[in-house]
């Protein structure tokens, strides 16, 4: 009787232990995501504070550079979203980035109405998204990298041929198109609002149930389909969001320079987000922003020493990138748990 009682108690204890263990798993999962959200919110607050106070403590040139950093950061986050959600490394994101500026310039020539610019940016994003979405339908991820790059390169090569004649004057070509000039604070404010909104949106989505479903596509498309994820819809959504945000950043870039030329489709624009995120965790928004700012400032410094010197930095980083990516993967495997 006594023995049975002890056995029963042991069974009961074991059962309780099991429940506690499961409870712990769920608890630690919830705790992990709560912590992740808190961290993202803290990062957001720091970034917002810095960006809000930046105009008060910066001179014109520094503010101009910071604005460029903000625009590139948004571009990097948009690019990184596609990479981390559906596992597609796009080297064709210069297409929405450049197209937005080009369409704005065209619209401006015909209508002289800058208020319609956001519309052209969205159109540019949608057009590019349709191309990249079709490419993403293939499960060959390596082919996606190279074909997206190829399409971007073709547009870059042939964009100087694009000219229009109006009132006896030729616009476009190597020189590109002009856009209306803006006070720096207008471009800065618009860029900051966009970056902060994107930062919050991605941060929230990444830590949500929807984000978890999306990441199944990144990890394994076949397995994702087996848990009922509509892979092609996820790809379409993520590509569209990524391209539209890239186009918004590209539109602001054109406004920032009051000018757009074939260089917006260039190889260094295409490679920028890839290089900016090499050293940071893939799912980290603050990593993308930090990387972009560092790259913008260092590139600018190098260019002041010798024109296009930043391309040497890009090349060096590209050469070491496979090693860094392998090191990061090893580190992720070693850190194991949640």
């Amino acid at each position: 009787m006594d023995g049975k009682g002890r056995e029963g108690r042991e069974e009961e204890r074991e059962e309780l232990n099991k429940i506690e263990m499961v409870g712990n798993a769920v608890k630690s999962y919830k705790e992990f995501y709560r912590k992740k959200r808190r961290i993202k919110l803290a990062e957001f607050s720091i970034l917002a504070t810095i960006l809000i106070f930046a105009p008060f403590v910066s001179g014109f040139y520094l503010l101009w550079l910071i604005t460029l950093g903000v625009i590139y950061s948004t571009y990097t986050l948009a690019w990184n979203w596609m990479e981390t959600m559906i596992g597609r490394t796009s080297l064709g994101h210069a297409i929405p980035f450049g197209l937005a500026g080009y369409l704005s310039a065209l619209l401006y020539i015909y209508t002289k109405n800058p208020l319609l610019f956001p519309l052209t940016w969205i159109v540019a994003g949608m057009l590019s998204a349709s191309v990249l979405y079709i490419l993403s339908l293939s499960r060959d991820r390596v082919a996606f990298v190279f074909i997206s790059f190829l399409i971007g390169a073709i547009i870059w090569i042939f964009s100087p041929l694009f000219t229009i004649t109006m009132g006896g004057e030729i616009y476009g070509g190597e020189e590109g198109f002009s856009l209306p000039s803006n006070p720096i604070l207008v471009t800065y404010s618009l860029s900051v609002v966009l970056l902060l909104a994107v930062f919050l949106f991605f941060g929230f989505l990444r830590t949500s149930a929807t984000g978890l479903k999306f990441t199944t596509v990144r990890d394994d498309e076949r397995a994702a389909r087996l848990v009922g994820v509509k892979v092609n819809r996820v790809k379409a959504f993520c590509t569209l969001i990524s391209c539209i945000i890239t186009a918004l950043a590209g539109g602001l870039y054109a406004l920032h320079f009051s000018h757009v030329n074939p260089e917006v489709f260039s190889i260094h624009i295409a490679l920028f987000p890839f290089i900016a995120t090499i050293f940071f965790k893939n799912d980290s928004e603050i990593g993308g922003v930090t990387g972009s700012f560092i790259l913008v400032f260092v590139s600018n410094y190098l260019n002041s020493i010798f024109p296009q010197l930043h391309l040497l930095l890009y090349s060096a980083l590209l050469i070491v990138s496979p090693g860094i990516i392998r090191w990061r993967a090893r580190k992720a495997k070693l850190t194991g748990g949640v």
């Binding site: 499961v22 990441t215 990890d219 394994d220 076949r222 397995a223 389909r225 087996l226 994820v229 949640v338």
Partner: protein, 234 residues
């Protein structure tokens, strides 16, 4: 068991998966020839045969990863021959790969959660994932990333995830492949448990012996043709 039943829902509804005259050709190579059989809910059908006999191709066709050259797949009186994989999963058909394909960067718990979210809102899905962890004895691994699991643990996770979508039928492609004796025993135990839960299973294997006392019916497939049907008692 009460817990197990709650995962599967109403087991009294009699479901049926019918494979009708399925053939598959890759160019001039015929992989499957006029394959037909039925699988009832709660029943286990074994499909044995040597390498290259067409077992995996048949499973891929039933799950929707491959298209048949001719023939039909009927799930609960509905023709699903042209239905995409994800819709088949919604209709109650699941698949477990021979080589486990978990979401490597996710934890074990998250792997299960993704499946549970097909039918439930996040809060309820978490409870279901919790039940599954307990059912498969994966509680200790809940917070571990799938990339850090052993082969045996991955196999269990694959099985568990295939159950997370609450299917009527699960297709298991060589669930005992690359497992040691201990893990084979464990997987077998879980398959028996799933059978008791009322899930219909189609299991492929090289030898019929491994499916003894588990399969209600065993088919022998060779050169794409079902050649021998044997009834395994018990």
């Amino acid at each position: 068991m009460k817990l197990a039943m709650s995962l599967i829902g109403d087991t009294t509804v009699v479901g049926m998966l019918k494979i009708k005259g399925v053939s598959k050709q890759f160019n001039s190579l015929t992989v499957l020839k006029d394959v037909s059989f039925n699988l009832r809910k709660g029943e286990v059908v074994g499909l044995c045969g040597p390498n290259g006999s067409g077992k995996s191709t048949l499973l891929k066709i039933i799950s929707g990863f491959e298209k048949p050259s001719c023939g039909k797949i009927i799930l609960n009186e509905r023709d699903i021959t042209k239905t995409p994989v994800e819709e088949r999963v919604e209709l109650g058909l699941s698949f477990a790969f021979q080589m486990p394909r978990p979401f490597l960067k996710m934890t074990v718990f998250e792997n299960l959660l993704t499946g549970c979210m097909l039918r439930y809102e996040k809060k309820e899905a978490m409870l279901k994932a919790e039940e599954l962890l307990e059912l498969f004895g994966l509680e200790k691994l809940a917070g571990r990333k799938a990339m850090n699991l052993s082969q045996g643990e991955l196999k269990l996770l694959e099985l568990c995830r295939s159950l997370s979508t609450e299917p009527d039928f699960i297709l298991l492609d060589e669930p005992f492949a690359a497992l040691d004796r201990e893990n084979t025993k464990n997987v077998r135990k879980k398959l028996k448990m799933m059978k008791k839960m009322g899930v219909g299973m189609l299991i492929t294997a090289h030898k019929t012996r491994i499916l003894e006392k588990l399969a209600d019916e065993t088919y022998w497939i060779e050169l794409g043709k079902i050649k021998r049907i044997e009834r395994v008692e018990g």
